[in-house]
Each structure stands twice: as C-alpha cells, then as structure tokens.
Amino acid sequence: DARVTQTPRHKVTEMGQEVTMRCQPILGHNTVFWYRQTMMQGLELLAYFRNRAPLDDSGMPKDRFSAEMPDATLATLKIQPSEPRDSAVYFCASGLVHQPQHFGDGTRLSIL
C-alpha cells in the first residue's frame, strides 16, 4: 500500500534550535497538509498546498514556522527558532481533491 512517509519519527532538541520535518506524499497526490496534534488543542491544520502552491497557512505562526514544497515529492515544515510550546506531534497528509486524505505516522517533537 502507498503511504505518506514522514522523517524523522522523533526529534528532541533544545529551544532556539532549528527543526526541519520532512514529508514524502503519496505519488500522484497533489494536495499536502501539515497538522499539529497536542493534548490540549487536538489536531489543528497548520498549512496546506495544492500542486505545490500554498493555499492556506492561516494556522501557522508566521514568525517562526515556514512550510515549503521544493518539488512534488517533498514537503518541509521548519521551525526557527524552536520553543518548548512547539512540542507536539506533527502530521503530514496527502490526497487528491475528490479523494480522502492519507496521513503519515507523524514526527514527535520535543523542545527542551
């Protein structure tokens, strides 16, 4: 079965460090989503792309977060500088307009 692949699966780093999370969407999917999951807020959309163009990044703190799609096979989410409150599980999902989203298994991020 085709899967969304996220790397790394786990990341522990100190506050102030740059963090880069990567996502390989399912081949052929033209829409990529970044979500963040915490106990307090649940699953929240950070940003999403269609055909590599950003459509909505209203859920993302602009001062420290950035999301890009350098090519159709790679999406990145960067945090610089990282803060303890960024600790969460970050999910990438991909899909097509008339098809459901498929989620990766997430990057569990801990900022000390």
Binding site: G42, Q101, H102, F103, D105
Partner: protein
C-alpha cells in the same frame, strides 16, 4: 472555540457493550469524516458521509450524518478490545479542503 464538539471525551466499557460517540457543530459541512487513531500512528479514515440523513455501516460500526449536516454520530455494537483507540470526527467545508477536527473520543474496551 472548538468548531466541532465531540462527546464523550473518554469512554471505558466492557467487551460486548454498545456505545455512541457524538460530534456536534453549529456549522454546516459538505462532508464529515470519522477517523480512528492508534498510539504512534496517524489517523486512519473509517468513513465519509456527505448527504444529510445518510447512514453508513462498517461491520459493527454505524455512522450517521444529521439531516442539517451539522452533526454526526458513531455507534459501535458489541464492542471488542480491538476497537480501543482514539476516534476523531472531522468536518470539511469543500471537497479537497482542510479538515476541522473534533477533540476526539478516547475509547477503551476491556476484555
């Protein structure tokens, strides 16, 4: 403010019992999806409902979309330990658009 309110947040039952999870909103959605998530994994889609009043069945799981497309329910008959997990509802305003998730219902089914 949570756009989608799920209840209950936690549910612990014995094997063989029935249960219902509710997902309510003041917003109208074009579709509503139910996901199940296990620890260390991403959410996995169970079902999508798109028509007001629609009922879909998946083995022992019955999903219903409200007539006004603002709410939904998930009913599990004769729950089994394998049903344990986090159940999430998510609304979508337009096809291919972002999902608005509820807080989730943590279900534990004890043997």
């Amino acid at each position: 403010t949570q756009l989608l309110e799920q209840s209950p947040q936690f549910l612990s039952i014995q094997e063989g019992e029935n249960l219902t999870v509710y997902c309510n909103s003041s917003s109208v959605f074009s579709s509503l999806q139910w996901y199940r998530q296990e620890p260390g994994e991403g959410p996995v889609l169970l079902v999508t409902v798109v028509t007001g009043g629609e009922v879909k069945k998946l083995k022992r799981l019955t999903f219903q979309f409200g007539d006004a497309r603002k709410d939904s329910s998930l009913h599990i008959t004769a729950a089994q330990p394998g049903d344990t997990g986090l159940y999430l509802c998510a609304g979508q305003y337009n096809q291919g658009g972002k999902l608005i998730f509820g807080q989730g219902t943590e279900l534990s089914v004890k043997p």
